[in-house]
Amino acid sequence: MSRIKNAFDGKKAFIGFVTAGDPSLSKTEEFVLEMEKAGASLIELGIPFSDPIAEGVVIQQANIRALSAGCTTDKIFDMVQSLRTKTQIPLVFLAYANTLYKYGYESFCKKCSEVGIDGVIIPDLPFEEKGELSDIAVKNGIDIISLIAPTSEQRIQMIAKQATGFIYVVSSMGVTGVRSEIKTDVESIVNAIRSVTDVPVAVGFGINTREQVLKYTNIADGAIVGSAIVKIIAKYGETAASHIYDYVSELTKGL
């Protein structure tokens, strides 16, 4: 069983996101291990990009902090390699298309496979464009995680049928960030997905409370929390680990 499948096997998954290299790569390693201890079953690592068009202000600033600290794709691979000696938690990258393209799809996927990355989420590589990457990813055993949005409508099943790893349902319009209310009918999106595939479904964008985590893990198979964790890092920096642990423990209670 792949590590990603394992994360959803017989349990609801809490997925935590951090931007790699914010505030440093050694801290990222520490934060991942803390999240695992606190009950996270999958970790999403953002590769910082100069112009992250799908991100709200919180993650945009994390990208700037990481890049200013000298974080690069190669240094992230090194960090993951070191992290893999300490944990078997599934790890997926959140990366913009240019990061992979410029590194070379072949080299990027090969490197992911070598260091133990399980999948990659690419917010600006929609269904129609993923063909240029998918064969290479499959060959290297890397899942391309498909995104489905509130506006996807008739596209839902087309995307779901080809999905691998897990499906990322975007709960809200707009960019990443904490929201007090999610208006999308996530349940009917999940139902439409389930009618064509048994690939696990996780919901993200705007989730930041235990109630929301319980609600969406009830509707789907997992919940993704990003900006709320990144906010803790923005506030506490080097000393964020224990705060992340406390926060994630609170959110995963009862899963």
């Binding site: 945009q60 890049l67 410029k102 464009e129 063909g131 319009m173």
Partner: protein, 394 residues
């Protein structure tokens, strides 16, 4: 390979949230572009409101002074709102209206596209919000006020380098949060398909007119057609109808800033590499890891780290050449054309004028150059004065 390709370039590299809307836009555009009523309405607006056709002006003094090829200027600076941007904006705003949208949003660099969009919104009764890098709102303060006068709301963008690329980022983010009643009126031949095609089609009126005008005036085609290139909308419009005329050399002039061998440049063709950004595959100024480079030019309208995918293709197949022009050269051209011809041209367009000044003297007198004057330079006067050490503010 997906839709909207120009060789390997182009495509639709955008978040899933926008995919249905982009497909809808493409369908609606394909319908309306052949719809007689739409065409008639747009034609009337271009003629009665924007002031088309624009003049093809023979620059006699410049021609004599440079002593070589005959120089013609396509006077897009004389359009309503002072630049070629109105050609595309009237088309897209009318399309927005037909699609039942109530609101249009747009990015702007120098402010010319923002002003044109705000103008079209006022005319057609649409709400309008403009995203402009904070740095540019300072460089082009007058245009900010102009947009506000026209009823638009201007959002200064404070992320990244606070210039054009950041304004595009913010516009895309805004569009993903509100697609149902909003159309993103993209200002250049860039972004995801169908934008490069739509903007090119609406801008191709420039070369359609120019080609007929030069045949009427000279009885033959020009030898060289040139225009400035940032994202590339005026140049694509100026090139398009000449692409099939193999004898016509197409030259795009990009902003070299302080020089292509410095890091203070925006010359994408000279210094960029293939990448994926702002919804398209094309050439971009970027580092080895694909981080988009902070670019620089004296011209806010050319201060962009990428170039439209069709230009990238024209370069690949050798149909068009792209040359870098520095700040210094552009400023000299700005002053030269003012004195020679009594035309204050935009600093963007002055990049193309600078190249004309380089090549015309080396050409025979029976040769013809058409250069696109994409905009007027009133907006640049204070900045040029400061460049020359005169403490002048708007």
């Amino acid at each position: 390979m997906s839709k909207g390709r120009y060789g390997v370039h182009g495509g639709q590299y955008i978040p899933e949230t926008l995919m249905n809307e982009i497909e809808k836009l493409e369908k609606e555009y394909e319908f309306y572009k052949n719809n007689a009523d739409f065409k008639e309405e747009l034609d009337t607006l271009l003629r009665e409101y924007a002031g088309r056709p624009s003049l093809l002006y023979f620059a006699k003094k410049m021609t004599q002074d440079l002593g070589g090829a005959k120089i013609y200027f396509k006077r897009e600076d004389l359009n309503h709102t002072g630049s070629h941007k109105i050609n595309n904006v009237l088309g897209q705003a009318l399309l927005a209206k037909k699609m039942g949208k109530k609101r249009i949003i747009a990015e702007t660099g120098a402010g010319q596209h923002g002003v044109a969009t705000a103008t079209a919104a006022a005319l057609l009764g649409l709400e309008c919000e403009i995203y402009m890098g904070k740095e540019d709102t300072i460089r082009q303060a007058l245009n900010v006020y102009r947009m506000e006068l026209l009823g638009a709301k201007v959002h200064p963008v404070e992320t990244g380098t606070m210039t054009l690329k950041d304004a595009v980022n913010e516009c895309m983010r805004e569009w993903t949060s509100r697609v149902d009643d909003t159309l993103y009126v993209l200002g250049s031949v860039m972004g995801p398909h169908p934008f490069p095609m739509i903007v090119r089609d609406f801008q191709s009126v420039i070369s359609r007119e120019a080609r007929a005008q030069i045949l009427e005036k000279e009885g033959k085609l020009p030898d060289i057609v040139t225009a400035c290139v940032g994202g590339g909308s005026n140049s694509m419009g100026m090139f398009y109808e000449f692409i099939g005329d193999e004898s016509v050399q197409l030259i795009g002039c990009e902003a070299a800033g302080k020089g292509v061998d410095t890091d203070r440049t925006a010359a994408t063709m000279a210094t960029g590499t293939e990448g994926i950004f702002h919804g398209m595959k094309s050439y971009f100024c970027q580092d080895e890891y694909g981080q988009i480079a902070p670019v620089y030019s004296i011209s806010a309208g050319l201060d962009y780290p990428g170039v439209g995918p069709e230009h990238a293709y024209l370069k690949d197949i050798g149909r068009a050449q792209y040359v870098p022009v520095t700040d210094d050269e552009a400023v000299e051209a700005f002053e030269y054309i003012a004195r020679q011809e009594g035309i204050i041209a935009a600093i963007e367009s002055s990049h193309a004028v600078a190249h004309v000044m380089k090549i015309a003297p080396k050409m025979d007198k029976d040769k013809i150059i058409i250069c696109c004057l994409s905009g007027r330079g009133d907006k640049d006067v204070a900045a040029i004065a400061r460049y020359r050490g005169i403490d002048l503010h708007e």
